[in-house]
């Protein structure tokens, strides 16, 4: 590891966390709760990578049941904890698993039924319903869009979550407990303090703000690399051997359809036998997912039409309506699966692992490798336990599973809130979903400033007060950041009706010139158009042509 150059940065913290995904924000929150001073650096935005582009589920790990039931148990238990700390952010997604008619169809159904009977034992841990066995007519009644000869099927229960919000809430909670969070700050070097004492500040982490080019540096005793698929890149900055933190980046894409096409999530088999699904998620349906080795730029991951066709073909086999449904976008992320050579992507472990860089000559530097959204809290706890005990001799136990995330302290009645605040029930319901009790704070001054109640994004909907809140309280710096936190511009109009207005508000809040707001709106619209085009269908084509005409007419040539 290189030696830091004088002068050393003035700011000193206990732990520097690199990476603003769910692992980074999760560990920052946990450490901050134990009284440690934390600084977090994120190269892009919070939840920019895999955490903000997942299938949006806190699942119970049903697939691990046969080989490692303890993983299923801890997953289910953690799902229960996350419901306790963020009750507003979770929603039930019941799934249907149709079993196709074949020579082994009946036996397959028996086996699946038995398998899920075993899973039922863990459901109470996450307030899930036990599974149900269904015959073909039950399936047709529950989801009339299903086709094909089936022998029956089963239902099982999972929970959906907005992964980006989960990240943001962890980051905010960490900040409210004293952590410093720097989004859009790319770490450029991790170096050793000359003559650093093991009990003192041993490392210097230096970052550059990618928007202002300002330099931010801290001294820290411990450094945690939680950069997911970027992990080897980050390790190299500190002169650490990349092979020790090697991951196998696996790209996964999702297609977003304009409405909830079904009440149940539906499992299906892709052409290569992989399991894929169509799920009702918030106010849209999501089709997922692929898993392919990825060698490209991690800052610019995009779905391709090939991947979209693969998913649509696979789900259309049991639910043909997906072909004529209107796709309004796609999103893509890269999983940081544990490295293995010679194995199929799906057979890779989704387990997590802490790499201690002590043997590499960097005691107190750790990398968090692998993991999944559903078990982030547990992974953060394991990491924090290790740091607290080994590097700081702090005995405070983990409390991330008992103390609520911001807004999760109580459950707010959205309809009473709608009446009190003169909002439409839909707008109130969406606001309360995202912010829980903090919805009250967002509209607390709405009587003096009625514009806070104005709808900025009519598709979602998102209120002006929420956009301002995202900038003031949630570290959003651009239209894209606001969109990640609020789903602004991700509806059917693709941002055509809200991006410019959102840009105005962001520029106002940040004290930027109005042209900066217009520019960030344009950037958002171009980026969104790129994600939509790969899933272009007949109906959406007309909207695309209109959007382009509109963007040209009101903002200028993109």
């Amino acid at each position: 590891m290189p030696v830091a150059r004088e002068p050393l940065p003035a700011e000193a913290v206990d732990v520097a966390v690199i990476g603003g995904g769910i692992n980074g924000t999760g560990v920052a929150r946990d450490l901050a709760m134990r009284g440690l001073r934390v600084a977090l650096f994120e190269r892009n935005d919070l939840a920019f990578g895999a955490s903000g582009n997942s299938s949006g589920m806190i699942h119970g790990g049903v697939r691990y049941l046969s080989r490692s039931p303890h993983v299923t148990e801890t997953s289910c238990r953690d799902s229960g904890y996350i419901q306790r700390i963020a009750p507003h952010l979770l929603f039930r997604i019941p799934f249907l698993m149709p079993v196709r008619h074949s020579a082994q169809g009946r036996i397959a159904l028996e086996l699946i039924d038995a398998y899920f009977r075993a899973y039922d034992d863990y459901q109470p841990l996450k307030r899930g319903e036990p599974h149900c066995r269904l015959d073909a007519s039950d399936l047709g009644r529950l989801e009339p869009g299903l086709v094909g000869a089936v022998v029956g099927g089963i239902t099982f229960d999972e929970w959906g979550v907005d992964g980006a919000r989960l990240c943001v809430l962890n980051a905010i909670d960490a900040m409210e407990r004293g952590a410093r969070v720097h989004p859009h700050a790319t770490v450029e070097t991790v170096s050793r303090v000359p003559g650093g004492h093991p009990a003192g500040k041993r490392y210097v982490v230096e970052a550059r703000d990618r928007r202002t080019q300002a330099r931010i540096g801290v001294q820290a005793r411990v450094v945690v690399n939680a950069t997911g698929a970027w992990s080897p890149v980050t390790a190299a900055l500190g002169g650490l051997p990349q092979l020790r933190v090697r991951v196998r980046p696996g790209k996964g894409i999702h297609v977003v359809l304009d409405r909830r096409l079904t009440n149940y999530g539906i499992l299906s088999e892709a052409i290569d036998g992989r399991q894929i699904f169509l799920e009702p998620w918030q106010n849209v349906s999501v089709l997922g997912t692929t898993d392919d080795d990825y060698y490209g730029d991690l800052d610019d991951v995009c779905a391709t039409s090939e991947e979209v066709r693969y998913l649509v073909q696979g789900v259309a086999r049991v639910f043909p309506g997906v072909r004529t449904a209107r796709a309004i976008g796609t999103y893509a992320g890269v999983r940081p699966s544990l490295y293995a050579y010679g194995r199929n992507e799906d057979a890779l472990s989704r387990e997590h692992e802490i790499v201690d860089h002590g043997p590499d000559g960097a005691p107190g530097v750790y990398s968090m490798i692998g993991g999944k959204l559903a078990s982030y809290r547990l992974f953060a706890q394991e990491m924090s336990d290790r740091v607290a005990a080994r590097d700081f001799d702090v005995q405070v136990p983990c409390a991330t599973h008992t103390r609520p995330l911001p807004g999760g302290e109580a459950v707010l009645d959205a309809f009473a809130f709608a009446d009190a605040q003169h909002l439409t029930p839909v707008a109130a319901r969406r606001l309360v979903y995202r912010h829980g009790t903090r919805a009250l704070r967002i509209l607390e001054r709405a009587d003096e400033q009625p514009a806070l109640r104005h709808v900025t994004c009519p598709c979602e909907p998102v209120l002006e007060g929420e956009v301002r809140h995202a900038v003031r309280e949630e570290m959003a710096c651009s239209v894209e950041d606001v969109s990640r936190r609020t789903r602004l511009g991700l509806g059917a109009c693709g941002g055509m009706r809200c991006a410019a207005r959102c840009g105005q508000i962001v520029a106002q809040e940040l004290g930027l010139p109005p042209s900066a707001g217009i520019r960030m709106a344009g950037e958002f619209l171009v980026k969104q158009a790129r994600t939509r085009i790969v899933a272009l269908g007949p109906e959406q084509a007309r909207q695309e042509a209109l959007s382009l005409a509109h963007v040209r007419a009101s903002l200028g040539e993109p």
Binding site: R323, A500, Q504, V534, P538, A549, A553
Partner: protein, 415 residues
């Protein structure tokens, strides 16, 4: 009398019908209801306004005649300068009469007032800052005024709110409120910008300006606002005074008869004419459809390979781009959409695809295409109108041309 049928009641179809009627033809318009023209924003462009190399094109006589007949649209020798609700100041070749042109009045007063009122997405101080920043030579100030008279008007959609100012008494009420707001400062103000709200039957900007003594107008807003509805009203008035028959129906197909052309309607009716102008719109208007092979796919392979776009009506109109007909792709699944559309593709087919026709819009003798439906044209208001005007005039002249051709003496036979 030459009989002309125009399919499509948008900008191009209206241009074709009015110019054919002016040329003495008996004209019917088959109008399938609101389309892309109903979404017009009121900026009359000849090119996408910020396209590289775009300059201000002269507008020819025929287009001016149709604009005069249509009313409510202003195209002068000088371009207009519009302010948009996105916070941009931009040039346009012309404008809907409800929109404010920053340069209309060269008065000593320099300041433009932005009316601060409660309307969705309207933040007067943000807009004043943005426009002031963009316009450089014109300072904008915020003028506080009440514009909503009844509860609920603050959240009402623009078009519904604008309809209230079709009423003279309500417009008078608005003028009174604005007069109170600018009291004492009227002399300083060059103009007042309002959110889109000044009428849907016709633009009330001039009437309001007259009452107030200060030039008033709307900012340019998103598609779906009052300007598009004002076009619909202007069109109905102009077609009726030109004695053009309007048939509210959708056309299914166009086919040749022994002497001319016939149009089949979806309700089973059939009409005949000497010439037909097809102006059913392109991708936005709904005349051209994106139709990848996989859209018909159930579980097996798509039944055939086909070009990614198709015409929605059954007519002998070849689709193409760059002057060439569309190719059949070597895949049953259709071309990858990344290759077809902005922003992934450069000069994308989606922006160009349309009917291949000559400079007058003629595809076959007596069969014309116009507007957004044409290939390789810029998809703008004035271009649609100009191609409609040209095609309409040519359609009205088909009989005369045919006679001229048949009366040409046969060439002498040389030994």
């Amino acid at each position: 009398m030459t009989r002309v049928i125009v399919i499509g009641g948008g900008i191009a179809g209206t241009g074709a019908a009015l110019s054919a009627a002016k040329a003495g033809a008996s004209v019917s318009v088959i109008d399938g209801g609101p389309g892309a023209s109903t979404l017009a924003t009121g900026a009359l462009d000849a090119w996408p306004w910020a396209a590289p190399g775009a300059s201000i094109a002269p507008v020819d006589r025929g287009v001016h005649d149709v604009l005069d007949a249509l009313g409510g649209h202003v195209v002068t020798a000088r371009p207009a300068r519009l302010v948009t609700t996105a916070g941009v100041v931009r040039p346009a070749r012309g404008r809907d009469a409800g929109l404010l042109d920053l340069d209309t009045t060269a008065t000593a007063a320099k300041v433009v007032g932005v009316v601060a009122c409660v309307r969705p997405g309207w933040d007067a101080s943000a807009l004043a800052a943005a426009w002031g920043d963009a316009a450089q030579d014109v300072p904008f100030i915020v003028v506080d005024a009440t514009v909503a008279r009844h509860t609920g008007e603050g959240d009402m959609p623009d078009a519904d709110f604008a309809a209230r100012h079709d009423d003279d008494a309500r417009l008078g009420w608005l003028a009174d409120r604005l007069r109170e707001a600018v009291a004492g400062n009227a002399g300083l103000l060059r103009a007042l910008v309002l959110p889109p709200c000044l009428g849907v039957e016709r633009a009330r900007a001039d009437a309001l300006s007259e009452r107030l003594g200060v030039r008033c107008g709307e900012a340019l807003a998103s598609p779906g606002g009052p300007a598009g509805l004002r076009f619909e009203h202007a069109k109905k008035r102009a077609l009726s005074s030109a004695r053009v028959e309007v048939v509210e129906a959708r056309a299914r197909g166009v086919s040749r008869t022994a002497v001319g052309w016939c149009v089949d309607l979806e309700d089973g009716r059939r009409t005949e004419a000497d010439a037909v102008v097809v102006a059913v719109g392109g991708l936005v208007g709904g005349g051209v459809e994106y139709a990848p092979g996989e859209a018909v796919l159930a579980t097996a392979l798509p039944p055939f390979s086909r070009p990614p776009f198709r015409l929605v009506i059954d007519a002998p109109l070849p689709l193409g781009a760059h002057g060439q007909p569309l190719d059949l792709p070597s895949t049953l699944f259709g071309v990858a959409p990344e290759q077809l559309a902005w922003p992934a593709a450069r000069d994308p087919l989606m922006d160009r695809v349309g009917v291949l026709a000559d400079a007058r819009g003629r595809v076959l003798p007596g069969l014309f295409a116009a507007g957004e439906l044409l290939a390789d044209r810029s998809r703008t208001w004035l271009d649609a109108l100009a191609t409609g005007v040209v095609a309409g005039a040519a359609a009205a002249a088909v009989n005369a041309e045919r006679r001229a051709r048949s009366s040409v003496p046969a060439p002498p036979i040389r030994p």
